[in-house]
């Protein structure tokens, strides 16, 4: 167990050079003793307390005392030092007076710490994605190249192989690389494994300017099919499978049954995009790739002198030429280029960061309001003191500084507490963020974040400090002295305090509503009616390598056998399989309906398509509405059949029976044999869907689903054995329940809901503290008045309601304004709301109830305190 290192480092900044060893030695020794007697937590707290108090003492010492004692004795101090020294006296005064009101100051420091901590945490995330450039050389010269189809509202589409090659050859402004991620089975080792791989153009590493740490990158000729069996591997895989052996070059690895020769190893943190690849292989271009199949993500590096705007014009010029040359595939298509930083932060993340930043700023404002209130109260209590100072000839500037010292001290401690809170906050964030989120590993506290914290602390100190300081440095001295410091109640001071709390309640309600919506969205996601079964469904995925399963019969026979075996297992009610599980991703295609041809290519309809193994629909409890489901009649040698969802049927045959009608997909007509109910595919939008039989048109990769009413834990190993007995080289992967699939697909929403809930709880606490502060202050000021009322016969209940009403009025005014701002914010958040209306009555209602309840409780306690007093005692006290 070591002493807290951060604390020791902070202390180091302030300790006098010649005393460093001595002081650290003493502290270590004392720390050990506390550790032995009081345990780790207390010892760490003790150490921090020592560091914080010692730091203040050392700073004080340095300001008070010039570095060289000779200067002091022989010459007058330089003028510049006088201000800090008298200011230091003010700060010491502030310290001493804080000791008399530790409660109020603790509230102020904690409020500020919470506000600053929240902001620093959010900033450390935002900084990475918004302000820091990508971790590649010259990142500003990197652009994303994409296709567009304005008529369909497609703004950022991938490119097809031929289009990419045309762009690369014809571009005058940049060198363009392309990649396409795909998961593959890697054989050998203890157990076959499924890993992320990525196929790239030969110049991929040149464009990113990344050098292999071992071996070489691809050569141009290796990009073509036939020469493409070479691979670069990631450091992780190199370590895991080859024990970091430099002799790995020239070894072969078996990916989906194909042999690849390892030619290089990439540095540990090289990664771009949403997948985590471990093997990079060349694209393997055959020349037969379709112009219409868009799969490649293209990244360009601007040539010297070129700009993003020029690059954008350049690719859109090429797209126009292509549309003229190949009108049947490319008409309607355009292209564009934008800075790669824009690509990495998708719009949802951007909106999410704006929401949380605004929320954090609101928390800070609430905190500042609290502190400003406390400062106002203190300043009001010190009116006499200030008046005396003024009467004795202190200048206004001197008085402002005197009052401002309080704020400086509070801000300083608030900043320290804030940094500690953000350390915890950032740890919490990184524990929640999904593994695939790009650049998550870059989030943390560093110099930039600390500078930000310093700026926020200074600004807040000025914001909440300057107003009370300015106001109270200008009292009417003689009036204040005459009034005896009592008559100030009920004047502008308490009005402005109430106004501050109204603002606070407004902001708190806004935050509460915002996070209530997100939390509701999160829960509605949990309980959402997806249209398919979520409970007790076990899923896993298998992918058959083409080299081992060369024809359709082999694939069909594998899946048929596996399906039969799984369905026959005890504990499995029914089983099936699908090419892509719902919630995972979209797979859509254009289709035609013979007899209902679209007037132009841009108006052709788009449908989600999936291949399924019979049994899928029953297992997932998706009901058949018309016709039949797939069965033994649907084989490779019979007519191609499809099952469509209700939406597609209604779209084309609103009044007719769709059974027996046909749709055309990929140039082939298929007969509609059945209609099933609509269900969620990957987001909340219901889309037309076409299901095809995987026994009729087989697919290499399938996700199995098994309905296991009695739980599934014991079944996984048995399923693994079945797969192993069919093919020992085949890994089983993504083994999870359907529940987990849903949860995983919404990790970002979950993260968002949790962060906003935490922020809202803070906001609630802070604003309740604000209401409490104002009410209890005003009760203290009115003690005499209330005492007279009671002496004249007012009941306890009457006094209570008098005080409660004051709290209620403030809260209700604040909430009325808050409802307006909350509605505005809620609309901006709609992108993040899953299955919840932005004007969800329950969220608004609950927020109002919680806030009102909490502020009434906050007014009740001070009210009861005064109502319980003996009126005689109260009157005598004055």
């Amino acid at each position: 167990m070591k002493r807290p290192r951060l604390a020791a480092a902070i202390l180091d900044l302030f300790v006098p050079q010649d005393g460093r060893d001595e002081i650290h030695g003493d502290l270590d020794e004392r720390f050990l003793r506390v550790l032995q007697t009081k345990g780790q937590t207390r010892a760490r707290a003790w150490y921090w307390a020592q560091v914080l108090s010692s730091t203040t003492t050392f700073i004080a010492h340095r300001i008070r005392r010039p570095r060289s004692p000779k200067v002091r004795s022989t010459a007058r101090q330089p003028k510049a030092l006088e201000l800090p020294r008298s200011f230091w006296a003010d700060i010491q005064y502030a310290f001493r007076s804080f000791r008399r009101h530790p409660g109020a100051i603790a509230v102020a420091v904690f409020s500020l710490g919470a506000g600053i901590g929240t902001n620093v945490t959010i900033f450390s995330v935002v900084d990475v994605y918004v302000f820091r450039s990508l971790p590649f050389p010259d990142p500003d010269r990197l652009v994303e190249v994409y296709g567009t189809m304005p008529e369909r509202g497609w703004n950022h589409n991938p490119l097809s192989f031929p289009v990419y090659l045309d762009m690369r050859d014809q571009s005058r402004t940049m060198d363009i690389a392309a990649s396409h991620p795909e998961d593959k089975n890697i054989a050998g080792g203890d157990r076959p494994e499924r890993i992320g791989t990525i196929r790239t153009s030969w110049n991929y590493f040149e464009v990113f300017q990344v050098q292999p740490i071992l071996g070489r990158a691809f050569r141009p000729e290796e990009e073509r099919d036939g020469n493409h069996r070479v691979a670069l591997i990631g450091s992780g895989l190199w370590q895991r499978r080859f024990g970091s052996d430099p002799g790995v070059l020239g070894e072969t690895i078996l990916l989906d049954g194909e042999h690849f020769t390892v030619i290089g190893v990439l540095p540990p943190d090289f990664r771009f995009g949403l997948t985590i690849p471990e093997v990079w292989t060349p694209l393997g271009i055959t020349g037969d790739e379709s112009r219409g199949t868009n799969r490649l993500m293209a990244v360009g590096r601007l040539r010297p002198g070129a700009t993003v705007t020029q690059a954008n014009a350049d690719v859109s010029r090429i797209a126009t030429l292509l549309a003229e040359e190949y009108p049947e595939v490319h008409s309607g298509w355009g292209a564009g280029a934008r800075s790669l930083n824009d690509f990495v932060v998708p719009v949802e993340a951007r909106v999410g960061m704006v929401i949380t930043s605004v929320a954090a700023a609101l928390v800070l404002m609430i905190a500042c309001t609290n502190v400003a209130n406390i400062m106002l109260t203190r300043a009001t209590a010190r009116v006499r003191e200030i008046a005396v100072m003024g009467a004795l000839g202190a200048s206004r500037a001197r008085l402002v500084r005197h009052l401002f010292a309080d704020s400086v001290v509070v801000a300083w401690f608030g900043g320290l507490v804030g940094i500690l809170i953000s350390v915890a906050g950032i740890r919490w964030y990184t524990s929640l963020v999904p593994a695939w989120a790009p650049r998550a590993e870059e989030v943390g506290i560093d110099g930039r974040v600390l500078v930000f914290a310093l700026i926020v602390t200074t600004l807040t100190g000025i914001v909440f400090g300057i107003i009370p300081a300015l106001r109270n440095s200008l009292p009417n001295f003689s009036a204040a002295l005459k009034e005896g410091g009592r008559g100030v109640s009920g004047n502008r001071g308490s009005r402005s305090r109430s106004a501050l709390v109204v603002c606070q309640v407004t902001m708190a309600l806004t935050l509460l509503v915002g996070s209530a919506l997100l939390v509701r969205g999160y829960f509605s996601l949990q309980s959402m009616d997806t249209g398919w079964r979520k409970e007790n469904v076990l899923t896993f995925r298998v992918s058959l390598p083409q080299s081992d399963y060369q024809d359709n019969e082999a694939v069909v026979s594998f899946y048929r056998t596996l399906h039969e075996r799984i369905a026959a297992m005890p504990g499995v009610e029914s089983a099936g399989a699908i090419s892509h599980l719902p919630m995972r991703s979209s797979a859509s295609t254009l289709y035609d309906v013979p007899g209902h041809e679209a007037p132009s290519p841009e108006q052709r309809q788009l449908a989600e398509y999936r291949f399924i193994v019979p049994g899928y629909l029953q297992t997932m409890d998706i009901a058949r509405l018309q016709g039949r489901l797939f069965d033994e009649r649907d084989r490779a040698d019979t007519r191609n059949a499809v099952v469509v969802n209700e939406m597609l049927a209604d779209l084309h045959w609103p009044t007719e029976n769709p059974i027996g009608k046909s749709v055309e997909l990929w140039g082939e007509t298929r007969e509609i044999v059945g209609v099933v109910e609509n269900s969620i595919i990957y987001d909340q939008v219901i889309r037309p869907m076409i299901l095809l039989s995987a026994f009729q048109e087989p697919r290499a990769s399938m996700s199995f689903v098994a309905h296991t009413p009695g739980g599934q834990r014991s079944l996984t190993e048995e399923i693994r054995n079945h797969v192993h007995s069919l093919d020992p080289n085949l890994p089983l992967y993504r083994v999870m329940s359907m529940d987990e699939v849903v949860r995983e697909s919404r990790q970002m929403e979950t993260l968002m809901a949790k962060m906003m809930a935490a922020i809202a709880v803070l906001a609630l606490m802070l604003s309740v503290a604000g209401v409490y502060g104002v009410i209890s202050y005003s009760v203290a000021q009115r003690t005499q008045e209330l005492g007279i009322r009671m002496a004249l016969g007012a009941r306890e209940a009457k006094v209570l309601s008098l005080v409660l009403r004051q709290g209620a009025v403030i809260t209700v005014i604040g909430m009325a304004i808050g409802l307006v701002t909350a509605s505005l914010i809620a609309r901006g958040m709609s992108l993040w709301l899953f299955g919840v209306s932005p004007f969800d009555a329950a969220s608004f209602g609950a927020s109002i109830a919680i806030l009102l309840g909490a502020s009434l409780a906050a007014s009740y306690f001070p009210a009861r305190r005064v109502a319980k007093l003996d009126p005689l005692e109260v009157l005598r006290h004055e």
Binding site: D26, D28, R30, T57
Partner: protein
């Protein structure tokens, strides 16, 4: 320069150094004051006060041997000088003269 005087905290620290004799370095000095007076003493306050007393010539110091429990850092041992002893004697005399006859009265007043 006029005769240096002794602040209250300086007084406490100087007495602690005197009491501890040969074992007077940072940690025991702090403990001595904390245990006898019940107040908490921060590292910085103790360090700065010891330095000030040394500047005033009331104590002198020398470096001791490093120990493991201090992370291999040396201790600085303090010893009260004759000027320090004289100062203590003088302070005690002044204080006890000022206290003469006050004690019973003070106890009554606090009630």
């Amino acid at each position: 320069m006029a005769r240096a005087s002794l602040g209250e905290f300086e007084h406490l620290i100087l007495l602690a150094v005197y009491r501890l004799g040969d074992d007077a370095y940072g940690v025991p000095v702090i403990h001595e004051v904390e245990e006898r007076t019940g107040r908490t003493v921060t590292q910085a306050a103790a360090y700065l006060t010891l330095r000030r007393l040394e500047d005033k010539g009331f104590i002198k110091s020398k470096l001791g041997d490093p120990t493991a429990e201090r992370g291999g850092r040396a201790k600085r041992y303090f010893e009260v000088t004759s000027a320090g002893t004289a100062q203590l004697r003088e302070s005690r005399a002044a204080l006890s003269k000022m206290w003469e006859g006050i004690n019973p009265e003070l106890d009554r007043a606090s009630r």
